[in-house]
């Protein structure tokens, strides 16, 4: 199958597999009790129990069942559903989720990754203000079915920004994400992309005293991919990948994905400098 056709089929599959029904969810999976704040992935199934009492059960071919707690919060439900549950559904269906936000340029995807709070969403919003459309926020789903190309599936999540990020980027503030979460939804300034596109580059966001763009080469590319990100571990587990299979996966991805490090001070006064570096990286002027 032509790569983008395969990715479109994967998008349809994800849409189908994330269909929701509301019904009681059992507290255990394969005899293992899944208590509040815990989750379990086993074969074709995934069970998540939130600290606030939401339970989500995904079964391949069936969809997602959600049990609502006594004090429901639809915003919190959306966060769990679009985050961990979506990543599990993707993983179980052979699609690799990575923790990244991305923009599109010239028919390709430029992704930015880093731990929570690294500024992924803020950077994507700021790049939007410079005319680059958003591809995804927070979760980037990769279709690896074509051996010659890594194709990204467009994001399913809305852009979420803190009040400070809204001020820095000039993005338009929408409703609050959830009562207990100090972030707001925002419209991506240059719109978003709804079509699958090949991955052009993965950039790691890091703190440092001076803005700089550094390339990542050799074994460091491998090491960075094998860093134990939660989503990568989930994908490996869903694919029942032993160490050898995980190594083979990273050995395929590491040479295929150009990588960079974007170092920048976390100083609002110097924010634009790092956005300029990122924009130059994306548009090929770096």
């Amino acid at each position: 199958m032509e790569p983008l056709a395969s990715a479109r089929a994967a998008m349809r599959l994800l849409a189908q597999e994330t269909g929701v029904t509301y019904a009681p969810v059992p507290p255990a999976l394969d005899g293992f009790d899944v208590g509040p704040g815990r989750s379990r992935l086993s074969g074709d199934r995934y069970l998540l129990h939130s600290g606030s009492g939401y339970r989500f059960l995904y079964e391949r071919g069936v969809g997602v069942r959600i049990e609502i707690p006594a004090a429901p919060d639809p915003a919190e439900e959306a966060l769990w559903f679009n985050g961990s549950v979506y990543a599990a559904v993707a993983s179980i269906n052979g699609l690799m989720p990575i923790h990244a936000s991305a923009v599109a340029h010239d028919g390709r995807v430029f992704a930015f990754t880093g731990p929570s709070g690294a500024g992924k969403s803020t950077l994507v919003a700021a790049l939007g203000a410079r005319g680059l459309p958003m591809f995804c926020d927070d979760t980037l789903v990769l279709d690896l079915s074509d051996p010659n190309e890594i194709v990204c599936l467009p994001g399913h999540k809305r852009l979420k920004l803190s009040a400070e990020a809204l001020r820095l980027t000039g993005a338009v503030r929408q409703e609050k994400v959830a009562a207990m979460i100090d972030k707001f939804y925002a419209a991506p300034p240059a719109g978003d992309v709804r079509e699958p596109l090949p991955l052009a580059r993965l950039t790691f966001l890091e703190d440092g005293s001076e803005p700089a763009l550094l390339s990542v080469s050799g074994a460091e590319r491998f090491a960075r991919l094998s860093d134990d990100h939660h989503t990568a571990a989930m994908f490996a587990q869903a694919q029942a990948a032993d160490l050898g299979a995980r190594f083979a996966l990273f050995a395929r991805l590491a040479p295929a994905i150009p990588m960079s490090r974007l170092i920048r001070p976390r100083d609002a006064a110097r924010f634009d400098e790092s956005v300029t570096l990122a924009a130059e990286l994306v548009t090929g002027q770096a």
């Binding site: 094998s226 160490l243 050898g244 190594f247 083979a248 050995a251």
Partner: protein, 90 residues
């Protein structure tokens, strides 16, 4: 010390090359080694046809270095590989 022909222990590791570097993973623990320069050259030559002395003289000739210094470095590297259970004959 017992020495013989150096060979990789099949099934104990996985390897791949990226940008001229060799990445070797110890499949029993998940630890991995990044090999560059002489270490990568040594690893590539561990193929069951060379003993330690042959390896040292080949590497010394290739890198135009003194056999004694090369010998020390290679001994330390082979001990590390041996300790990780990746090779036999060290």
């Amino acid at each position: 010390m017992m020495t013989g022909l150096l060979r990789k222990r099949e099934g104990a590791f996985a390897e791949t090359a990226i940008d001229g570097e060799v990445v070797v993973m110890d499949l029993s623990k998940g630890d991995f080694f990044s090999l560059t320069g002489t270490a990568a050259a040594v690893w590539r030559r561990i193929d069951g046809t060379r003993d330690r002395a042959t390896l040292v003289s080949e590497i010394a000739a290739e890198y135009d270095a003194q056999s004694e210094a090369v010998g020390r470095d290679i001994a330390a590297f082979l001990d590390q590989l041996d300790g990780a259970g990746l090779i036999d004959g060290a």
